[in-house]
Structures are given as structure tokens and as C-alpha cells.
């Protein structure tokens, strides 16, 4: 059981996605092979994905190659996801400079032995560098400071 955990989990992920796609597809028009509706192709794919997911799990159960999943850098995972989501959520209203600064700061803190002051230094320099590359050199039309800050 312990040995097959990787395969069981992988199978569950695939089967889960397959089920979600297949079930949602049935709410769309399926159509016929001659006149396929929008639901046809994803329904077939969802079905195949469920079959593959189950096969992976079963194979893992029968002949699990196993292997450790290993440690997960939870802090980095949370911080990096937060950094990216923050950028998407605020870039329009806060503007590029503040949104990017916070994003890079969060990312900079994701390292194992990251400390605050070096992370701030990195965030300031990378924000400046990005503005230079994207706004000055590549002429990207992104407001530096957004409406939330009166920009």
C-alpha cells in the first residue's frame, strides 16, 4: 500500500479530472459523430482519462514501483502561489510598480534560509530592472501606479 501511494494518487488525479470533464460535458450538446456538438470531444477525452487514471492506480496496486514522494517545500509553495495571484489580482488597480514589488518580495521570501532585508533589496532591484526592460525598452503600456493609489 505504502509502495503504491504515488501511483494511486496520480491515478486519482487523472480520474478526478476525467470525471469532471466528462460530467460537465454532458451538460453541453453532445450531437452525433456527423454533427458534433461542443460536448462530444471533451466527453470522449474525459472517458479515456478516467480509464487511464483507474489503470494507473490498479497497476500501482498490483506492481507498485513506489518510490518516496519526498519532502514538499510548503513555505515556497504557499508563498510563490500567493505572489503570482497577488500580481494578477492587483496589477491593474495598484499599478505595475507596487504589485510587482510585493510579488517579488513574497517570492524572495520563499527560499529556505531567506531573510527579510536581502529579500527587500532583491525586490527593489528586480522591480527597477523589470520596469527598465518592459516599460522603457519594450514600451509595454502598463500604468506604473494604478487608480487605487491615485495613479
Amino acid at each position: 500500500m505504502q509502495r503504491a501511494r504515488k501511483d494511486l494518487l496520480a491515478g486519482a488525479v487523472f480520474a478526478g479530472f476525467g470525471l469532471a470533464f466528462a460530467i460537465t460535458s454532458t451538460t453541453y450538446d453532445i450531437g452525433t459523430p456527423l454533427r458534433m456538438g461542443p460536448g462530444f470531444f471533451p466527453l470522449v477525452l474525459g472517458g479515456i482519462l478516467v480509464v487511464l487514471g483507474v489503470s494507473i492506480a490498479v497497476k500501482g496496486f498490483v506492481a507498485g514501483e513506489g518510490g518516496e514522494i519526498g519532502n514538499v517545500p510548503w513555505r515556497a509553495l504557499v508563498l510563490l502561489v500567493a505572489a503570482i495571484l497577488f500580481f494578477g489580482f492587483t496589477v491593474r488597480d495598484l499599478g505595475l510598480v507596487p504589485a510587482l514589488f510585493v510579488t517579488v518580495l513574497l517570492a524572495g521570501l520563499a527560499g529556505r534560509s531567506a531573510r527579510v532585508i536581502p529579500a527587500v533589496v532583491i525586490a527593489v532591484s528586480l522591480t527597477a530592472l523589470s520596469v527598465l526592460i518592459f516599460v522603457v525598452l519594450l514600451q509595454l503600456r502598463l500604468p506604473l501606479v494604478g487608480p487605487w493609489l491615485g495613479g
Binding site: T24, G67, V104, G111
Partner: protein, 501 residues
């Protein structure tokens, strides 16, 4: 048009100042990311794609392609100097190259790698130019049924050479295909899997997928352990090869070029395979096999030539059939589609400047690479001193800005986080990320050809089996699948990819 005439057009296109400049930028960037462990060409190309949207299609492709083969050069530098392959195909180079560096011959190893790669790249470029027309001509007779079968073959074949479990790779492809259906259905305009969000009607952005999967998920992998690396060789001297050295590397370079050119055409990890096979060939052919692993110059010359030749010829399926053989080529398909060019056999006739300009740029790019890598080697060595704690926040910043700039859509940025987590989980569970990207990019094409083929055949699904070309392609797909699951092949493959780690 004859090949010579076409090459003339290619030179005209590639030698414009703008294209020369972006070729140089591409190969320089490629060398940089190849040198730096922890960021690969796939993530770099994905991040830079948005910038290229405003370019001419040919300029954009010249630069993006340069990143790819530039990374092959850069990867070998890192492999030789710090025994840490920046690129998977450079893993073999590390065996003898690093040994040479330890003995004080780092300059020799680097020169061998650069000259071998240049020779191989030049020959392989000619190979691409000669083969492209005949292959595209065959494909011009393809109807929707053939294209459907061709894509199926391409997808299946890509897992034959991949590492890891075949079932998982297959599941990754299908998951990619399914994720590709998100957004408005092309035929009916009905929104699918959008949760009612208008921002998702255009579908998931493939740049988000590539950046999340190959950029951010990779960062998470790297942050699992502590990243320490030391540059042993601070200064590289004596880049000249002696007459004796030239004599020793002559045959390995020739054999490596031939092997690489042939294997590069295969889907999947053709270039990785090419360098491994070249290494074992040289070891077998050598009169002094005991020197291998202890700094044999042949062990650098062969594999380096092989992987660079393969990097060039892997463009053949992309340019002639519109079929990507790996995740890099899949990104190039995405770049073409955004420029309004549907990749396929028509490109060579409809866009001759694009096609031949790109081919000639390979050769120019390879020349730039020799110049960049030999006299300027010190610069790249210094780059190795950039600590990872600075590098990965930079990747996050560029990824976020680049993706957002495509259509100023916050959902494209959220998608990066989604794919990063999904990718990280799946990689942790032993799945390769490349098939997911291939499936995602080819999914919409697959659905379109499926629909067209079935409409033409009045809904008769046997059309894929009754048209001889389509049937042949499907039989090849079955063969490729059988080969992938055959126990003997599996074992050999595992040996190859275990050495890589």
C-alpha cells in the same frame, strides 16, 4: 524553387540587420539560460513569447529558435565546468568534460564542444534544407483524416522516447487535450468549462501553462533541497586544440553529427538519446576505451556534436508537417498560431521567407555561438556566480509581467499558479510535464480535424482506417505504442535515463 534559389532567399531574409540582431539576442539568451542551472529554454521561451508578438513572424521565430539551440551550447559549458548539466542532453558531456576540466583542460573541452557543435549544426542545417521539400510535398496530399492520424502518431511517438511510465505519459497527453478544450468551441461558439467567466472564453493561455509547468513548478522542485554549487574553474585558459586533438575528435564529430541528424527527427527526447548513443558508440569504437570517464576528448566531441545536430533536425517535423517533436517545438507552434500562421506543409510554399530565413538563421546562429562561447567564455563563467535566491524571484517577475502583457487578462496570471501547482503535484507523482503541453497545443487542431474528417465522411468513423495514408499513420502509432511498452525497450530506456539523473 530549387534548393539554391531558396537558400538565396533565406540569406536575404536572415541577413537583414533586424533579423541578425534578434538572432544574436536569441542565441545569447539561450547560452545564458543554458549555462544557468534551474532555468531551461522552455520556460525562457514561454516568458519571452509575449514580447515577440509585435515582431515580424520570421524575426520572432529566429529569436525563439536561437534560444533553443543556444541553450544546447550553454548547457555544455555548465556540464564541463561544474559537473551539473544545465540541459538534460549535456549530461553525457559532463562525464568526460568535467574530468578534463579537473585535469586543467577545461579550455580544450569547451573548444571541442563548441567546434563540434558548430560543425554538426552546419551539416544538420543542410540536412534540414534538403529534406524539407520532399516531406512537405508528401504531406500536401493530406486531408483532415490524415492530419488527425498524424497528430495521433505524433502524440503517441512522443511518449515512446520519454522517460518514466508510459501510462502516465499517455494520461498527461489526454489531460492536456482536455484542458485544451476550455473556452469557446470554434464550431458552435458555445463556451465550455468556463464557469461562466468571460475571461475564460478565449481558453487557457498556453504561455501560462508553459510558464507554470516548466518555470514555476521547476522552481518548487529546486527549492526542495538546498541549491549549492561551486565553480571549480574560475579562469579558463588555453582554448587551442593541438593537431593531435583535431585528429582524435575528427571521427567522433562526424559520427555524432550523423547520429544526431537522424535521431533528432524522432519525436520525444531525440537529442538526449542521440548524445547517449553517441557516447557509447565512441567508447566502443575507441582503441582506448579505458580512458572514457577519465577525460577522453572523444567523449566530449561525439555527444556534443550529436545533440546539436539533433537540435537542428528536430525542426524538420515542425516545419514540414506542423508536428512538434518536443515541448520546445510545441511552443514554436503556439508562436506561429499567434502570428496567424497555421503550421503545416503549406508553410514552405506560402511563407518561403519565413521557412528559408529561419533555416539560414540556424547557420548564422551557430556561427554567433562559436564567437560567443569561445572568446567570451569568461563572461558566462561569471554568470554562474548569480545565486539562485536572486534568479528565481526574477523568473516569477518576468513570468507574471510577460503573461499579463499578452492580453491584460488577470486570469492568464491566475492560470500560471494553477498550472504550477498541478504540474508540481504531477511531477512529484512521477509524471513528465512535456506530454501535457504537447496535448494542450495539439488538442484544438486534433478536434478540428476530427470534426472535418467526420463531416466529409458523413459521420462514418471508419474513414480513418479506409484511407491508406491515414491507416499507415495509425498503424505506425500502434507500433510506436507497442515499442514503448515492450519490456526490453523499457529496460534500455530506463538505463539511459537513469544515467541522466
Amino acid at each position: 524553387m530549387g534548393v539554391l534559389e531558396s537558400l538565396g532567399l533565406g540569406f536575404e531574409t536572415a541577413f537583414t540587420p533586424v533579423n541578425l540582431l534578434f538572432c544574436l539576442i536569441g542565441v545569447a539568451l539561450g547560452t545564458a539560460v543554458g549555462v544557468l542551472p534551474g532555468i531551461g529554454p522552455t520556460a525562457t521561451m514561454a516568458m519571452l513569447l509575449p514580447i515577440t508578438f509585435g515582431f515580424d513572424p520570421v524575426t520572432s521565430l529566429i529569436m525563439l529558435a536561437g534560444i533553443y539551440y543556444g541553450a544546447q551550447y550553454g548547457g555544455s559549458t555548465t556540464a564541463i565546468l561544474i559537473n551539473l548539466p544545465g540541459e538534460s542532453s549535456a549530461a553525457v558531456t559532463a562525464i568526460d568534460g568535467h574530468e578534463m576540466a579537473k585535469q586543467g583542460h577545461a579550455g580544450k573541452a569547451l573548444a571541442t564542444a563548441a567546434l563540434g557543435s558548430f560543425f554538426a549544426g552546419t551539416v544538420a542545417t543542410v540536412f534540414v534544407a534538403l529534406l524539407a521539400n520532399p516531406i512537405a510535398d508528401v504531406a500536401l496530399n493530406f486531408g483532415p483524416a490524415e492530419f488527425f492520424s498524424l497528430i495521433v502518431l505524433g502524440l503517441i511517438a512522443s511518449i515512446t522516447l520519454a522517460s518514466g511510465s508510459t501510462l502516465k505519459a499517455l494520461a498527461m497527453i489526454v489531460l492536456g487535450l482536455a484542458l485544451g478544450t476550455v473556452g469557446q468551441d470554434i464550431a458552435t461558439g458555445a463556451p465550455r468549462f468556463t464557469f461562466g467567466q468571460r475571461e475564460l472564453f478565449g481558453g487557457l493561455e498556453f504561455v501560462s501553462l508553459a510558464v507554470g509547468l516548466f518555470g514555476v513548478a521547476e522552481i518548487l522542485r529546486n527549492l526542495e533541497g538546498s541549491m549549492t554549487r561551486s565553480v571549480m574553474v574560475k579562469k579558463v585558459e588555453n582554448l587551442w586544440l593541438t593537431k593531435e586533438d583535431f585528429r582524435r575528435i575528427r571521427m567522433p564529430v562526424l559520427r555524432g553529427t550523423a547520429l544526431g541528424s537522424a535521431l533528432g527527427v524522432l519525436p520525444g527526447a531525440g537529442h538526449v538519446l542521440a548524445s547517449f548513443i553517441s557516447y557509447s558508440t565512441e567508447k566502443r569504437a575507441s582503441k582506448r576505451p579505458q580512458e572514457f570517464g577519465k577525460g577522453a576528448i572523444e567523449g566530449v566531441a561525439g555527444p556534443e556534436s550529436a545533440n546539436n545536430a539533433a537540435a537542428q533536425t528536430s525542426f524538420i517535423p515542425l516545419l514540414t508537417l506542423g508536428l512538434p517533436s518536443n515541448s520546445i517545438m510545441a511552443l514554436l507552434i503556439g508562436a506561429l498560431l499567434i502570428q496567424g500562421i497555421v503550421p503545416g506543409p503549406e508553410v514552405i510554399n506560402d511563407e518561403p521567407e519565413l521557412f528559408w530565413g529561419l533555416i539560414v538563421s540556424f547557420w548564422i546562429g551557430n556561427l554567433f555561438l562559436v564567437l560567443l562561447n569561445l572568446p567570451l567564455i569568461g563572461l558566462w563563467v561569471k554568470m554562474l556566480a548569480i545565486p539562485y535566491r536572486v534568479l528565481f524571484p526574477a523568473i516569477i517577475a518576468f513570468a507574471a509581467i510577460g503573461t499579463y502583457s499578452i492580453s491584460l487578462n488577470a486570469y492568464d496570471v491566475y492560470a500560471i499558479a494553477f498550472f504550477a501547482v498541478l504540474g508540481y503535484v504531477l511531477i512529484k507523482l512521477g509524471c513528465e510535464p512535456a506530454p501535457l503541453l504537447l496535448g494542450f497545443i495539439l488538442g484544438p487542431l486534433l478536434e478540428r480535424y476530427l470534426r472535418r474528417a467526420l463531416t466529409i465522411s458523413q459521420g462514418d468513423a471508419t474513414v480513418f482506417l479506409t484511407r491508406p495514408l491515414s491507416l499507415t499513420l495509425l498503424i505506425l502509432a500502434v507500433v510506436a505504442f507497442v515499442v514503448a511498452v515492450l519490456p526490453t525497450v523499457r529496460r534500455k530506456r530506463e538505463v539511459v535515463f537513469e544515467e541522466e539523473d
